[in-house]
């Protein structure tokens, strides 16, 4: 899985696509290649990337997590709700992250112990968590909280060494997960489960435990994305994160990770998220109508996957 051929081609494919996209957009639009615009793009990308990093692990095991958008919304609402009742930002953030983590763990338990296909299980929890968000918020945005809590305000809007804090989160999480996937038993076993679950189980790998861990990780990362979004908007929207699972899955697939599990790279997911972010941004800059934007995004995903297939043949 680490031989030269795979390494080069698989990783370069999405990267070349990304650079081509950037070149085209910088020719078409003057404002594309500006520091300001890039800070903006990266800040937007970071939310999707954080979710997509977790999704990469899930998809590597051959699973899928449709509930990430709802987990994001409920964690966001919980964090905001707690702060609105006067609790400090730090505690609220921890509780929000924990909530996301537990929602992910619930996904994992339902999938492994309940033996329900991940698609079905997370389709159900997606609906459930969204419903709980609406119940909790009574269908209205939560606003007007923690305007003077520096830690919370920093999450979405701060800068660290001149880099937006969400982007810092994205980089730190990326580096950590890259290491986990490449160097640890957790990563090795993730690939093994996706490649052949039965053989992994018979090799003494605690398949259920690992999967629960992976879905929990994804839940936690979705919550982190939710908290960043809440801070950026200074409000928790009950409809936040709707359809985010699709952007996350798209990023993973654009990066060359196989939906059938066992093959993939988190670096690819980072590039995939960047491609989606740059595409969104570029189409906005070019004043393409939002209706056409969707058509173009869909076409790009199809094209990328088709090219990827070609290479494997």
């Amino acid at each position: 899985m680490e031989n030269k051929w795979n390494f080069d081609v698989k990783k370069l494919g999405p990267l070349i696509g990304f650079f081509l996209l950037c070149i085209v957009l910088s020719i078409l639009s003057d404002s594309f290649l500006t520091v300001n615009n890039w800070m903006n793009v990266l800040r937007q990308v970071s939310i999707n990337a954080l979710i997509a990093f977790g999704m990469t692990f899930v998809i590597l095991t051959g699973g899928i997590d449709l509930s990430v958008g709802s987990v994001l919304a409920l964690s966001s609402a919980i964090t905001a709700g707690i702060m609105a009742s006067g609790t400090n930002g730090f505690t609220a953030i921890i509780i929000g992250l924990l909530a996301g983590f537990l929602m992910g763990a619930l996904n994992g338990v339902v999938i492994t112990k309940g033996r329900i296909a991940p698609f079905i299980a997370t389709l159900a929890t997606m609906t459930m968590f969204r419903g709980l968000t609406l119940v909790y918020t009574d269908g209205r945005p939560i606003t007007g909280f923690a305007s003077d809590d520096i830690l919370f305000q920093m999450m979405g809007r701060g800068y660290f060494l001149g880099i937006p804090v969400p982007v810092v989160f994205m980089i730190v999480v990326y580096v950590a997960l890259y290491f986990v996937l490449k160097k640890t038993t957790f990563g090795r076993h993730t690939y093994a489960i996706g490649g052949n679950e039965e053989a992994s189980r018979l090799s003494g790998i605690r398949v259920d435990r690992l999967k629960i861990g992976i879905y929990s990780l994804t839940g936690g990362l979705s919550a982190l994305a939710g908290i960043i979004l809440t801070s950026r908007l200074n409000s928790a929207q009950p409809t936040a994160g709707t359809a985010y699972e699709l952007d996350a899955i798209a990023a993973v697939v654009l990066g060359g990770t196989s939906l059938s599990g066992g093959r993939g790279w988190i670096f690819g997911t980072l590039v995939g998220a960047l491609i989606i972010g740059v595409l969104n941004n570029g189409l906005n800059l070019l004043n393409v109508s939002s209706f056409y934007q969707q058509v173009i995004k869909g076409l790009v995903i199809l094209l990328a996957v088709l090219l990827d297939r070609r290479k494997e043949a």
Partner: protein, 498 residues
Amino acid sequence: MTKPFVEMRGIKKAFHQHVVLNDVDFEVRAGEVHALMGENGAGKSTLMKVLTGIYERDAGTVLVDGREVHYRHPKEAELDGISVIHQELTIIPTLSVAENIFLGRESTIGRTGIIRYQEMEKQAEVYLKKLGIHIDPSELAGNLSVGKQQIVEIARVLSTNAKCLIMDEPTAALTEREIQTLFEVIRTLKQQGVAIVYISHRMEEIFTICDRISVLRDGQFIGTKRIAETNFDEIVHMMVGRQIGERFPKRNATIGEERMRVEGLTQEGVFENVSFSVRAGEILGVAGLMGSGRTEIMEAVFGARKADVGTIYIDGQPVSIPSPRHAIEHGIAMITEDRKQKGLVLNMSVRENLTLPKSEQLATAGVIQTVKEKELVSSLIKKLNIKTASPELEVKALSGGNQQKVVFGKWLAMEPRILILDEPTRGVDVGAKKEIYEIMNELTAQGVAIIMVSSELPEVLGMSDRIMVVHEGKVRAILENEGIDQETIMRAATGGKA
């Protein structure tokens, strides 16, 4: 004899300068069963792929019925009556037997697409009768045994008016009884003038059913012999190019203390009151027909299946083994019957497969120690003589024999005290088989207790100290391997008295 139906002369084929077939001759006549033999990687499959048009030949001629052909697609070969029965069956389990037989060629009312089921079932029955087998054409194919599914597949091929059948390891998944039925079918086909190419590693079968044998080695054509005029040793010599000596190497292990004892192991409807023991340095052979419960018993011992009652003792102490992980902690390793489904992660590298059960011991705080891992991997590759270009190669690129050695290696890495082997040499060529036997002998010399499940009776008789015979989930006999023969075992395995 008649003139050849298929005649291949001077076939050459190379992939990127790597010559896989060099000047190969092969022919098969109508009404003949012609065995094609050779070690894994000798070029048997490539030769058949050249014949059926999956690969284009670089040089040589192919004559079918005396006419030179250049097939570009297996469909073209099929039109001339040449069909392949693949090792992995292509039956669709959710369709009926008749639907499977006529898949893609359904009998319909005009061009409406409305299927005439009765007509199809009637025709299906005709083809099945031709094979001398009774199968209900309206039965779901998935409800049939593997052996019957294979016969359905043969009926499908016959219904396309096949004149030449290529059978690739047709008996790999069959029970002894199903093999006999298949042989009856093959004999019937012979009488009807069908030419059959029979590819198998099982020497006994080839001497039972075939008329002639052609041997390939490293892409070279070694020769064709008539079965009546050759013998086992000569064929093996032709295949490996050297004398491999005794088929089953001698063993001199001292049998020690009892390592494991199983008492009253039962899983309702699967196996019942199974008791046996195995000692250090001993090989306990387990014989029984496929479906007798022998694999399930081993799965239960290894914790991969939950038994209802029963106790397992290791070194005299009762232990609980609720999962494979617990079995591994008790020093039990199991090499499963089906290496692709249960043994290997095919798209992972040789290195990653070899260290999978041991990865946690190779890690400090969850981080795998690369240096330690590489050392272990290179020592295993050397010890087992695994032929791979690099440890980083995906394991699916290896030949069957080498894949099986990787499975062995991954379990040897954990230095097991009890080793369960389920069909350890299935689909493995003669040379690699011998190497696997030698590994087993070396392990017993080190005091490992081995339980070996096998369908190949010569192997059970050749390797075991004692033989346990399983029939319908029950232990029928545990025999000392002295002065017993295949028939004694077969009688017990089919429910008779041992």
